[in-house]
């Protein structure tokens, strides 16, 4: 556009400037359709982002619960004066258990000054089918079991029902032997997965060997 045209707009242009017609219906429809496509793609990005935010939060929470439970277990097992099955029998080396019972003397931090039986046990998860949950239940009079009242859930989305195993120097738990001069060690496996037991993604497999400090060396 030359300087002349800018200074004196043509009759045609002036006519268009005076024109008061708006958009036609097809124009508006086309605009709306384009807008819909753009907003739609943005919305799907937002939805998938919020889905993965929820998923990441859940995973984070489950892993934190897992580590907290292992920490609690470690503290209690370090202080425990006996670690048995829920009937009070010694654990068989190399056998995986769904529940263990520990006896804590009154000096142990989590007992509130009274000799306490603490049972850690697994039961079916209430959140996902096929998964398990780890519970802790205490009693001052007798060995509690997972069917006792007052149990508290510590971890959910566990993919194993048998997290506890006591290795000996000749019988292994998942390939782990007890070193010859070592105190007894409880092999604890707490694999969690929010997508169920058959999932391979998002798996968090917390494994530890916890020394039973009041145990006898053999």
């Amino acid at each position: 556009m030359g300087p002349t045209a800018r200074a004196r707009p043509s009759r045609h242009l002036r006519a268009r400037a005076a024109d008061e017609r708006g958009f036609t219906l097809p124009e508006l429809l086309v605009t709306l359709a384009i807008l819909l496509i753009v907003v739609g793609s943005l919305a799907s990005v937002l939805v998938s982002a919020s889905k993965s935010e929820v998923d990441a939060g859940k995973r984070f929470q489950v892993q934190v619960q897992d580590r907290t439970a292992l920490d609690k277990l470690r503290r209690e097992l370090h202080c425990a004066s006996s670690v048995t099955d829920t009937s009070g029998n010694a654990l068989t080396a190399g056998t995986a258990y769904t529940a263990i019972d520990t006896q804590l003397s009154s000096v142990c931090p989590s007992t509130l000054g009274t000799t306490t039986y603490v049972t850690w046990c697994t039961a079916a998860s209430t959140l996902t089918t096929g998964d398990y949950a780890l519970y802790r239940v205490t009693s001052t009079s007798s060995r509690p079991t997972c069917s006792s009242s007052g149990k508290i859930k510590w971890v959910d989305y566990l993919t194993t029902s048998t997290p506890f195993c006591l290795p000996s120097s000749s019988t292994a738990c998942s390939g782990v032997y007890k070193p010859a001069t070592s105190l007894p060690m409880l092999h604890v496996t707490l694999p969690v997965d929010i997508n169920g037991p058959s999932s391979t993604i998002d798996k968090y497999n917390l494994v530890d060997d916890i020394a039973l400090r009041n145990g006898a060396r053999s």
Partner: protein, 194 residues
């Protein structure tokens, strides 16, 4: 309305190509800055994951030492390729070839191996280095190895166990950044049981 304003309203010039290009470049720089914020968030998250997994492994290794008798806290230094330490190991600040505690004969027990590869809870692999060195509980004492002593009238030497768990830089997706490393140290005395 002045004549000038009327004239400006009538003008039909848009932006020139150069103006448009400049605007787009400025916008791109802004968007790139936002993307960089996302990237650094991702790197930080990745790093945190690796650190917490490495910590779990280091804790678990230290726990094994707590179950051992004092005399069994020792490294296997004669199991051939399995116990060959590399330059990364020997250049560590705690490594002291003369004060090393050796004598373990097992090549399978985790507490005996100077360098091993472990799988973390996140399913990725980590390098675990274990150092066992004699040291003096009083930092001003001087350690002598034969006979093992911290000097007359001074407390006996202790075994200092250091566990270093490292995720290599390449495997963390952190590019050329330094590898993620977790370090744990504990001293063991003969009072805990021979």
């Amino acid at each position: 309305m002045t004549a000038l304003r009327r004239l400006r309203l009538r003008r039909e010039e848009g932006f020139t190509l150069v103006e448009l290009l400049i605007a787009m470049i400025v916008l791109t720089i802004g968007i790139l800055a936002l993307v960089a914020a996302y990237t650094s968030g991702y790197v930080a998250l990745n790093r945190a994951t690796r650190v917490s997994s490495a910590e779990v492994l280091a804790d678990s290794q230290m726990e094994r030492f707590r179950a051992l008798t004092y005399s069994s806290i020792q490294l296997n230094t004669t199991c051939g390729a399995l116990c060959n330490v590399d330059s990364t190991y020997t250049s560590d600040a705690v490594y002291n070839a003369t004060a090393r505690v050796s004598g373990c004969s097992s090549s399978t027990e985790s507490t005996c191996l100077p360098i091993q590869t472990k799988t973390g809870p996140d399913g990725r692999s980590y390098r675990m280095e274990t150092f066992i060195e004699y040291s003096c509980p009083v930092s001003t004492d001087t350690l002598t190895i034969s006979p093992l002593s911290c000097g007359t009238g001074e407390p006996s030497p202790v075994k200092t166990v250091t566990v270093v768990v490292t995720a290599s830089a390449a495997s963390t997706g952190l590019g050329t950044n330094t590898p993620v490393s977790v370090r744990e140290q504990s001293a063991f005395t003969s009072l805990t049981g021979q």
